[in-house]
Amino acid sequence: MSDATNTGATAREVIEQIDRARIELPELDRKYFCDEAPKVVEPYRGIVEKFLNWARSESLWILGFGTGCGAIELRPLMTARYDMYRYGIQPRPTPRQSSVFIIGGYASVKTMKRIVRSYEQMQNPKFVMGLGSCTVNGGMYWDSYNTVNRLDHYIPVDVYVAGCMPRPESLLAGFMQLKLRIREGRAEGANEYARNFDWYKANQKQIIKDWNMPDYNW
């Protein structure tokens, strides 16, 4: 960056330079990252998959992405009034162990990068819940200059909980809907992402201008 500034390049040129530069990871760091595309893992058939889907639906570990205002409605779920633990739902602090990714409201262009990284770090099968109207069509940020309008153009979404803001009860209803979807075997978002990887990547790169990470981060 400092070299470019010294030669008198404009900010736009610097960004283009960064865009073009290939990200070379040091050998030591290679095992922590991955630039291979994700693979489709076909589900088992019959009663085995039904049983596993039941287990997946009864043990939903949440990764809350709380940058939008909707995340404030997530916290009451742990309290005595709503108590999500009795439905097998619990918060998990790391994407590696979580199975449900909750986008808490509007997704700005800046946080989109983190959303993509966190989503890719989660392991198949993984489910996404869009919380609030902003994730459906932009909501009140419809014509904003730096938020995305449709979340499912960038990562596959299983359940939307509409509202501005949806109350914790609606969130719980959303979880029940997600459970049904998983049990019916329709929540195959991770495989869908792998199948349409190029389309999702193109959409993501269209809005994230300073792309400075491997194409896929697991």
Partner: protein
């Protein structure tokens, strides 16, 4: 009649199966009790089973190298090792396990071994939070090992043996011959060390949920996580059985075992819901203070 080696292996597997299920049920019931304290209903009793199934059913897992893979394996080996060298039911052929003279030291080593293996594995994960969790865990473990080791030394000096089976044998014959009454100082030092070992509040800074995401296992997912959860149940049960054997007269039947381990684990939960979390340096200072002193008094009493 002395059982054959094959029979003993079968008995050991049966013990492991029973103690694994008991450990899970105990964990779940304690989580429910904790939830009641907070005015919630809490998790379902079979939730840990579902979590383990789900984690093992993840379609993809990623590894960060050989040591990363071996971490949970070492942890599980530590848990099973601890259980295998502790007689679960005193004077029972089936649940006696592989107990031999001098095994208290071996068991202490196994308790340490799992944590060290996990530290190496978590370090290989490369996540900074893992490293923070590991440094906190090892520091705290070094601190609570002092009162625990002193308590075990006190028992060894008092009864002239380090074999757990013999230590249980000298405690038979009435509640007053338990080490709880024979050497109360050593027992209290060990119980306080047990609070640290279980990593509930106030000594939960190692995994510190929501602060450093989850400590050493931050990078572990899928089947690795399933293995760690399995170990948590086995290790919990093994530690409880060890404590019952060392200080509370052992168990001559399953009912005695369940009552004693439940009460002992309940101490943990009672303290856990009553006190907030210590910082690492606070917990180290705490363990090296009064508990270590209690352990020292226990050794002196035993020596006199």
């Amino acid at each position: 009649m002395e059982p054959t080696l094959i029979a003993r292996i079968g008995f050991a597997a049966l013990t492991l199966f029973i103690m694994f299920n008991y450990g899970i049920i105990l964990t779940a019931s304690m989580a429910r009790i904790r939830a009641r304290v907070q005015g919630r209903i809490g998790i379902r009793m079979w939730q840990p089973y579902i979590d383990i199934i789900k984690n093992n059913a993840k379609r993809t897992t990623i590894s960060h190298g050989l040591m990363f893979y071996l971490g949970p394996v070492f942890r599980l080996a530590g848990g099973i090792g601890t259980l295998m060298f502790v007689p679960v039911i005193y004077d029972s052929v089936v649940f006696g396990n592989f107990s031999f003279a001098g095994d208290a030291l071996l068991v202490m080593y196994f308790i340490f071994f799992g944590q060290l293996g996990m530290a190496l594995g978590a370090g290989d994960g490369g996540h900074p939070y893992s490293a923070i969790g590991v440094s906190r865990g090892l520091a705290q473990m070094t601190a609570f090992e002092v009162p625990f080791a002193l308590a075990v030394i006190a028992l060894g000096a008092q009864h002239g043996t380090l074999s757990i089976t013999e230590l249980v044998a000298v405690q038979q014959g009435g509640i007053l011959s338990w080490n709880l009454f024979a050497n109360p100082f050593a027992t209290f030092a060990a119980i306080i060390a047990f609070l640290g070992m279980s990593m509930h509040n106030p000594f939960s800074v190692v995994i510190a949920p929501q602060e450093i995401p989850i400590g050493p296992p931050t990078e572990y997912q899928g089947a690795y996580m399933g293995m760690l959860q399995t170990n948590r149940a086995i290790f919990n049960a093994a530690k409880l059985v060890l404590y019952v054997n060392l200080f509370f007269g052992g168990a001559t039947g399953f009912i005695a075992l369940i009552v004693k381990t439940f009460v002992l684990y309940f101490v943990n939960v009672f303290v856990g819901v009553s006190f907030p979390r210590f910082r690492t340096e606070q917990s180290i200072r705490f363990f090296l203070g009064i508990p270590a002193l209690l352990g020292l008094i226990g050794v002196l009493i035993a020596a006199l």
